[in-house]
């Protein structure tokens, strides 16, 4: 009964989505307030029914209802309850439901945080979001119903894939989807603005906090995924340039460009056409990612359960949504005004430069990801495009980006002067260059790339503090406290996010250059030295988990006479899906990780082991966490809350462009 209820709730949600799309969009076009007013209640209703559907599926998992095909395929009565709940998004059908549900969450948020916006605009935004919802609900109901019954019911479930039985699975996909789907808000704002013809600075101000929040979620999701792969896959890598990773990274890169472009559009009214295009791109790439992941066109994913019908459906939907919006763009964009003027050297020009670099980077990732497919489709053979390609292309593009990143926040709007910038940044530049040249040599491993990596990290940090000092310390050291307090959250958000990039860059550089590893055979009682740490293999013992048996090794780590820790790497065999799983053991410190993974038993109690010493590797994830915090801080800036109260801007949609241009000049 309960699964049918869930199925039925999905159908009602679909009906509400139809209502939410058709009436408000027509209402906005024809100026019928009653029709536009349907948008909010329909969106809220949709959220309620999506919640019911999710609750029904969770219920089926928790009570082990193996008459539901999806539950029988992805759960087991021996599976701990927390994983049974998370198994909801452990495979295709359920993760689609999560997608739809999260879209519902974002729609609900829009209904509440849009009170100050004109009704017509809200109607269009929710109408567009409703249309996206229709696509995904139809997809689910027609090709991938998570509530499909299995008759006769299975006695026992086939269990959740052991790789997914991890705390990472619980947190990672929802965060990632919050980001992916969150870009649908920025997308809908852009489409609504194109439809209504009001593409201006106020539009940018409205969509900016939404975009920033979605971007922060996506950053968090990708970071969690990277961290999870690092400890779960057992070989210490943290990014693999897998097509599926790229599918989440491309929207992130374009989303980052969008955030910066929105900043200019909001403050100066420029780049409007470009910003709108980026908003379309960011969400299109999210949809494209969904297609790539679920259609099996790339060797990654469901290649063993490829379903061309599903692929064809998403492709069709992708074609309608993206094709339609690009057509609308081509029709409306030529009529959008230019916005304020600015010089060849100015904060605007640097942000535009950053945008070009980000878009080229996203294009390169897309090209590398799809190139094997393109060649294959043309019958020109099969090739692989992997990490060496992406590193070779992506890193050179990021170097100038990082360089600009330091200049941008310190340059003046409208017209900046290079000599003046050079004078202001001379200390930051000098300190960074000298440290970057000397530090790797002191640490004993000087290469051009290491030095460059240090420079990038230090350059962001020193120039960041330079700009902080210039803004807060204007009235001398004595008033520094007051100066710091007077700076808006938006500034601190940017400062923190940029600092995050520096932390990340340093983490990548140091862990890349100074990590050491050993793969070797060890007898019980044997010790080995690695970067000053002594690893002593104490042997293995059998361990019984809730739904697996494991062999657990004990590795005692000491430095000199001081014992640091005992690590317990495991090799597990799960009861149902009997594939062996490697559980690495990590001693995670702020300055270094000690990482041990069990290989295979060799003979006479000896095992092959992989030992790693990874300095600063933690920073690779701490950096992005800084970016997330920065994003949240920026989105909570006072001026957005002011916006909610004051109608002034909403009443004057045409003021943005000219008004802010003049404002820039007036200063």
């Amino acid at each position: 009964m309960i699964p049918e209820l869930g199925h039925f709730a999905l159908i009602i949600a679909l009906c509400l989505a139809l209502l939410q799309t058709i009436l408000p969009l027509i209402g906005a076009a024809r100026g019928i307030p009653a029709w536009m007013a349907v948008a909010r209640p329909a969106a809220r209703g949709q959220f309620i029914f999506l919640t019911i559907a999710v609750a029904c599926l969770i219920y089926a998992f928790v009570v082990n209802d193996f008459s539901v095909l999806y539950v029988a395929s992805n759960s087991n009565s021996a599976l701990p309850v927390s994983y049974r709940v998370a198994a909801l998004w452990g495979a295709h059908e359920g993760s689609l439901l999560l997608w739809a549900f999260i879209l519902g969450v974002w729609m609900l948020a829009v209904t509440y945080f849009s009170r100050s916006l004109p009704q017509e605009f809200v109607a269009r935004v929710l109408g567009v979001m409703g249309f996206i919802s229709i696509g995904f609900l139809l997809f689910m109901l027609l090709t991938s119903n998570p509530f499909e019954r299995l008759f006769p019911a299975a006695v026992e479930g086939r269990d959740l894939n052991p790789l997914l039985q991890d705390i990472g699975l619980i947190a990672h996909p929802p965060m990632l989807y919050m980001g992916y789907v969150g870009f649908s808000v920025a997308f809908s704002f852009a489409i609504a603005a194109l439809l209504g013809g009001h593409l201006d600075a106020t539009w940018a101000r409205w969509s900016r906090p939404w975009t920033t929040v979605a971007w922060a979620f996506l950053t968090l999701g990708i970071t969690l995924g990277s961290w999870w792969a690092y400890y779960e896959l057992g070989w210490g890598g943290w990014w693999f340039w897998d097509p599926v990773e790229n599918a989440s990274f491309m929207p992130w890169v374009v989303g980052t460009a969008l955030i910066h472009s929105l900043a200019v559009t909001e403050k100066r009214g420029s780049f409007k056409v470009w910003t709108v295009l980026l908003a379309i791109f960011a969400f299109s790439l999210s949809l494209l990612g969904t297609f790539l992941v679920r259609s099996g066109v790339l060797t990654s994913v469901h290649a063993f359960a490829t379903d061309p019908e599903r692929g064809a459906f998403i492709l069709l939907f992708l074609g309608i949504v993206v094709g339609g919006s690009l057509l609308l763009y081509a029709w409306r964009a030529p009529r959008v005004g230019m916005g304020g003027s600015f010089g060849l050297v100015s904060r605007e020009s640097m942000l535009l430069g950053n945008n070009v670099l980000f878009v080229v980077a996203a294009f390169s990732i897309l090209l590398g990801t799809l190139y094997p497919l393109l060649l294959d489709a043309l019958g020109l053979g099969k090739i692989s495009v992997g990490p060496p390609y992406f590193n070779a292309v992506f890193v050179p593009l990021m170097v100038p980006t990082v360089f600009l990143m330091a200049l941008g926040p310190i340059a003046r709007w409208k017209e900046a002067s290079l000599p003046e910038l050079a004078v202001r940044l001379r200390w930051a530049f000098g300190i960074s260059v000298i440290t970057a040249l000397l530090l790797p040599a002191v640490l004993g491993h000087w290469t051009v790339m290491t030095s460059l990596g240090f420079f990038m990290g230090l350059w962001i940090i020193t120039s960041g503090f330079q700009s902080l000092w210039e803004k807060a310390g204007r009235n001398g050291i004595a008033n520094l406290g007051a100066g710091l307090r007077s700076l808006p959250r938006g500034f601190y958000g940017m400062f923190l996010a940029h600092l995050g990039v520096a932390v990340f860059a340093l983490g990548v550089t140091v862990s890349g250059a100074f990590s050491t590893e050993k793969e070797l055979r060890m007898d019980p009682g044997q010790s080995v030295e690695l970067s000053g740490y002594t690893f002593r293999f104490e042997g293995v013992r059998d361990v019984q988990g809730p739904n697996y048996q494991a062999v657990e090794g004990a590795v005692r780590v000491s430095k000199g006479a001081r014992e640091i820790t005992v690590l317990h790497p495991q090799k597990r065999v799960y009861q149902v899906q009997r594939n062996p799983m490697t559980e690495a053991a990590i001693d995670a410190g702020f300055f270094r990780h000690l990482y041990v993974a069990l290989g295979q038993p060799v003979s006479g109690g000896a095992w092959s082991l992989r030992l790693y010493y990874k300095p600063l590797v933690q920073w690779i994830w701490l950096g992005p966490l800084c970016m997330v915090l920065g994003g949240i801080l920026a989105a909570s800036d006072r001026r957005y809350r002011l916006l909610a109260r004051k109608q002034a801007l909403a009443d004057a949609p045409d003021l943005g462009a000219t008004g802010f241009a003049a404002a820039g000049k007036a200063r």
Binding site: G90, N161, P162, L163, L164, H172, P173, L176, G225, A229, W235, F240, D242, V244, E245, G289, V293, T299, S300, V301, F304, M338, G339, G340, L344, S349, G353, V360, F363, L367, G368, Y371, L375, G381, K382, I383, V385, G386, P387, P388, Y389, V393, L487, P488, G490, F491, E519, P580, Q600, D637, R638, R639, A652, L655, T658, G659, A661, A662, A663, K665
Partner: protein
């Protein structure tokens, strides 16, 4: 979405073909130079079973066999390039994660840089022509009033 990566990784142990083969064991060489070369080289090679892993990272039996094969070839004195040629002769370009530069991969390797240069050129062109195309429109009185109000609100503007 990472979980799909994991799924793919997991699946390479699952497909019927590889369900229960005898487990291969890495024959770690006594010569650290060979291990170091293997490490570096196998990061650029694709595991054919777990197709999205490097040969270095894969636990699949075939990957272990291939690593052992490479160790032997290196012990016989083959250069890295010879080892690569050996593998390409058997498995094709597919095994290389760094696609070789040839007629069919020229767009792949050069498009990003051409685009970056083109983007920079267009950007500079656009910036040079911009002042001529944009004219600051003087504000009306009403707009001035509203603007001043806004500026008061937005003192935090940086």
């Amino acid at each position: 979405m990472r979980r799909y990566l994991l799924l793919a990784v997991a699946l390479c142990w699952l497909p019927a073909a590889w369900a229960a083969g005898p487990e291969s064991v890495d024959m770690i060489s006594d010569n650290p130079a060979i291990e170091a070369r293997l490490k570096a080289l196998s990061h650029e090679l694709r595991c054919l079973v777990c197709q999205n892993q490097t040969l270095s990272d894969s636990h699949a039996d075939l990957a272990v066999d291939l690593r052992n094969e490479i160790r032997e070839l290196m012990a016989k004195g083959m250069t890295d390039q010879q080892v690569i040629d050996y593998l390409v002769a058997r498995y094709g370009d597919f095994v290389l994660f760094r696609p070789p530069v040839k007629a069919t991969t020229i767009p792949l390797w050069f498009a990003p840089f051409i685009l970056a240069v083109l983007g920079a050129a267009l950007l500079i062109l656009y910036l040079r022509r911009l002042p001529a195309r944009v004219k600051d429109v003087p504000l009306s009185d009403a707009e001035h009033k509203r603007l001043n109000k806004l500026l008061d609100q937005a003192k935090e503007d940086t």
